[in-house]
């Protein structure tokens, strides 16, 4: 993997590169390079499988981070290629020529984040939100509670409990003695 990264580094400049696990790497590239680097990874380095694509809204930085999650069946390594794009000019190249199935992710991101993918097939069709008229809901400047209170009729008398405290109080008086399930690392 290190060799691959080195080979990539020979070709383009990589901003950040992190290793999360033995089989999970991330690195960030420029927006203009994404087309080249993805096709290079697919054709030359056997990252043939696009597992998924996702977006994160960094409201504070004024950026969207798009992640292309690739997988290599030969060496069994996940590789996330991050790219940061400007929040004001939310537009990205469509990758459907490399992986035809990516149109569905792009359509989803287009609907939920409002990132445009010119040329991607059926990108303007609604995905889960039928007839949505507000700003895309996954942008962090959209206040869902306010929207929900405004739109859906709240039933009065609703109260919220912390389940742990509530259960401790109501059901398991001697909570401290009960064995907890320990998750193996």
């Amino acid at each position: 993997m290190e060799q691959i990264l080195n080979r990539i580094k020979d070709k383009i400049e990589i901003k950040i590169s992190t290793k999360k696990r033995d089989d999970l790497y991330f690195f960030t590239v420029e927006k203009e390079q994404i087309e080249f680097i993805l096709s290079y990874l697919k054709e030359q380095e056997n990252f043939t499988h696009l597992a998924f694509m996702q977006a994160v809204d960094y409201l504070e930085d004024g950026k969207f981070q798009l992640t292309y999650m690739l997988y290599n069946y030969k060496i069994h390594i996940n590789l996330g290629v991050n790219v940061l794009i400007d929040r004001k000019k939310a537009e990205m190249f469509s990758m459907h020529k490399l992986w035809p199935h990516i149109w569905q992710y792009q359509r989803e991101i287009h609907e939920l984040f409002g990132i445009n993918f010119p040329g991607s097939p059926r990108v303007n069709e609604s995905f889960v939100l039928e007839g949505w008229e507000e700003i895309p809901p996954m942008r962090r400047d959209f206040d869902t509670l306010e929207y929900s209170e405004k739109t859906f009729y709240q039933r009065p008398g609703r109260s919220t409990n912390d389940p742990k405290e509530y259960m401790k109080e109501k059901m398991y008086k001697n909570y401290a003695d009960t064995p907890t399930i320990r998750r193996e690392k």
Partner: protein, 213 residues
């Protein structure tokens, strides 16, 4: 009555179906549903007895609660001994089990299926989400109160309710039917415009007739 008046009344009885494109208007019925009064006490009582013994429910998993419906059919819980049977089509079903949270996209289908069922029809709403939104109370796309959109006969609280709770719910519904208290369908038709207003308020791309016969 003059013929003109009759035409006028007939026109009022029709639905506008404004959500449909022009060429599709003829493909959907535009009749307005009307409520049907129950028969006399004994006859209706007899029928209610049969309805309560033969509860055909719509096998349509609208939410995560639908996972709790499956065990109901298995040998352990065996709903068929109560005369509950799943029907694959709304035309034949009498009970609509709304399985938990309903997003706007789902509520559209719920309304459609509910209207396609032939009355008398009953609705069982599962889980907190249908009562007050449950854990999705602040979601931008999930409704909080189901009874604003279709009439609900029985709520079964829980997140999610267990099959035992469901059986209890069904039995409660059975009693209500026997008592003749379940007139949800008439309620719906009597308050048709109110329900439609609520539905149309959240369903923005209304591309179906106003009443799905």
């Amino acid at each position: 009555m003059k013929k003109k008046d009759i035409n006028e009344i007939e026109k009022q009885m029709k639905l506008a179906n404004e959500g449909l494109p022009e060429k599709e208007r003829a493909l959907f019925s535009d009749a307005r549903p009307s409520s049907v009064a129950p028969l006399n006490k004994y006859l209706e009582g007899f029928l209610n007895w049969a309805r309560s013994r033969s509860m055909w429910m719509l096998a349509f998993g609208t939410g995560c609660g639908a996972t709790e419906l499956r065990p109901l059919m298995t040998s352990r819980f065996d709903m068929s001994r109560f005369g509950i049977a799943p029907r694959p089509t709304p035309r034949q079903a009498a009970i609509f089990v709304v399985g938990g949270y309903a997003s706007i996209k789902t509520i559209k289908r719920i309304v459609r299926s509910y209207e396609e069922m032939q009355g008398p029809k009953y609705v069982i709403a599962l889980g907190s989400c249908t009562i007050n939104g449950g854990m999705y109370y602040d979601s931008y796309y999930t409704i909080n109160r189901l009874d604003y959109y279709i009439p609900v006969d029985i709520y079964i609280a829980g997140c999610m309710p267990r099959p035992e709770a469901l059986i209890a719910g069904f039995n409660r519904l059975k009693e209500k039917i026997r008592a003749g208290e379940c007139e949800g369908m008439n309620k719906y038709t009597d308050n048709f415009d109110w329900y439609k207003k609520n539905q149309k308020q959240i369903i923005k791309d209304w591309n179906m007739p106003d009443y799905n016969w």
